[in-house]
Symmetry: C2
Subunit: 262 residues, 2 copies
């Protein structure tokens, strides 16, 4: 696909604001190089970043920080550098993947969990999403003896003040914008034949990245406790459709790429 037409596709998905480079690279590694022996060369990394609108200097700074933070390691083969996730980075990526790539809702049940307010607050676990003092939502009943768990079925809509704690109005709005953009991409991407492996990688990365920014911000709870207008289900469906139409390119196909030359 010619660069201008492709740039329009990318801009459609990511909007006007550039993503934070550090976070975008986490998406790149998580999507394209999560496997045990997977590594990405600096040329394809810069190639992907450049097609999204990010300059090599910003990539270099972000790679340095990711290394310092324990996400990635770098390897040098001859005059080429390659980057791979550390075991810890891989665990982080693998933990988020089921949520990011799910076609169907990850959770179907919601529970209201009540804890004794006179008891010292428990450590806020991943499992409990607090909505008021001593009151939390969870995807499973509580295991502690002193807690009361009540199932919230789909037929009982939660009141807005609860739904808005689950997902802030801005995030609902972002989900609607992304659903619209992804729907447009589904329509515009009549054929993927004309896309290079690098272009496919870039589209995957922007799609996953935009969805990841939303879905990892909200708690792991079923859609029926989200506010009216939450477009998570649409996003999930479009992400899943698009990614199956844009199969992950082989890393060696990307490695042949010179930076800036898709």
């Amino acid at each position: 696909m010619n660069p201008d037409a492709f740039d329009a596709l990318v801009t459609n998905v990511r909007g006007d604001r550039l993503p934070r480079v550090w976070s975008l690279l986490v998406t790149v590694f998580g999507d394209l190089a999560q496997g045990d022996c997977a590594a990405i060369g600096s040329a394809p990394l810069n190639g992907i970043a450049s097609l999204i609108g990010i300059r090599p200097e910003a990539v270099r700074v972000a790679l340095h920080r990711l290394r310092k933070d324990g996400w990635i390691v770098s390897r040098r083969t001859g005059r080429r550098s390659a980057y791979a996730l550390t075991p810890w980075g891989r665990t982080q990526s693998a933990g988020a993947s089921p949520v990011i790539y799910a076609r169907d809702p990850v959770e179907s049940d919601a529970w209201l969990v009540l804890t004794d307010p006179s008891q010292p607050a428990q450590e806020a676990g991943q499992d409990l999403f607090p909505i008021a003092s001593g009151v939390a939502l969870a995807a499973a009943p509580a295991r502690e003896a002193g807690e009361l768990s009540l199932r919230l079925d789909c037929a009982t809509p939660v009141p807005p003040w609860i739904a808005e704690k689950v997902c802030a109005p801005e995030t609902v709005c972002q989900s609607r914008i992304l659903a619209t953009r992804l729907e447009r991409l589904c329509l515009e991407l009549v054929s993927t034949d004309c896309l290079s492996p690098l272009q496919i990688a870039v589209l995957r990365v922007v799609i996953v990245h935009e969805w990841r920014r939303i879905v990892l911000k909200v708690p792991r709870l079923p859609d029926h406790v989200f506010p009216d207008g939450w477009a998570g289900p649409d996003c999930r469906r479009h992400v899943s459709d698009l990614l199956s139409r844009l199969p992950k390119p082989r890393l060696d196909a990307l490695d042949a790429v010179e930076a800036g030359q898709p």
Copy 2:
């Protein structure tokens, strides 16, 4: 029945402590004279009180206070005084009767009601029994739009910290003591043939009064949200059995009584 044997029966039900006279008289009017035209003469009133162990002076003081508080009015016919509930007093009595005289639990459903903690607290209605900030129990789902109501079925036991708010440990203990005493009375009261109308009235009054002190102290919620050991269902059954064996005497049968002469 001879006075000593009868006194033992009464003491068995009421225990060692004398009831508060004001409150006992509310029970007397509510049980024996709740009807529109019902009035009790001072002679039978003193007769009932005396068999429970209360002296005429204490009755006089309590009657004065009940009149001042708007519960009763006094009428004078010749040299006799009689007392009757005011319309307001009758409404109070009639409101409590379904709870006091119920053979079966008054409520079968319990609901957990969650209110938005950021909203100003609503007037604490009779209907909502608060157990924590923004969390209440109720016998019916809430009617307000912003509230979330979840049914607490019998199969889900509530944790002790909730049950103990519904009914304090002392009240649970009182219910067990009363259930034991009423059960003993059921066994001891082989026949009611030997009881005078005044003795029947006295037994009814102490039974109703002791149960009323417990049942009006606890919220109108089903037994399954009460603590382990709550003997409300036993008390309800015994009260109901005993009252049906001790039918309400006619007021004119009591009127024939001279104080202290059952």
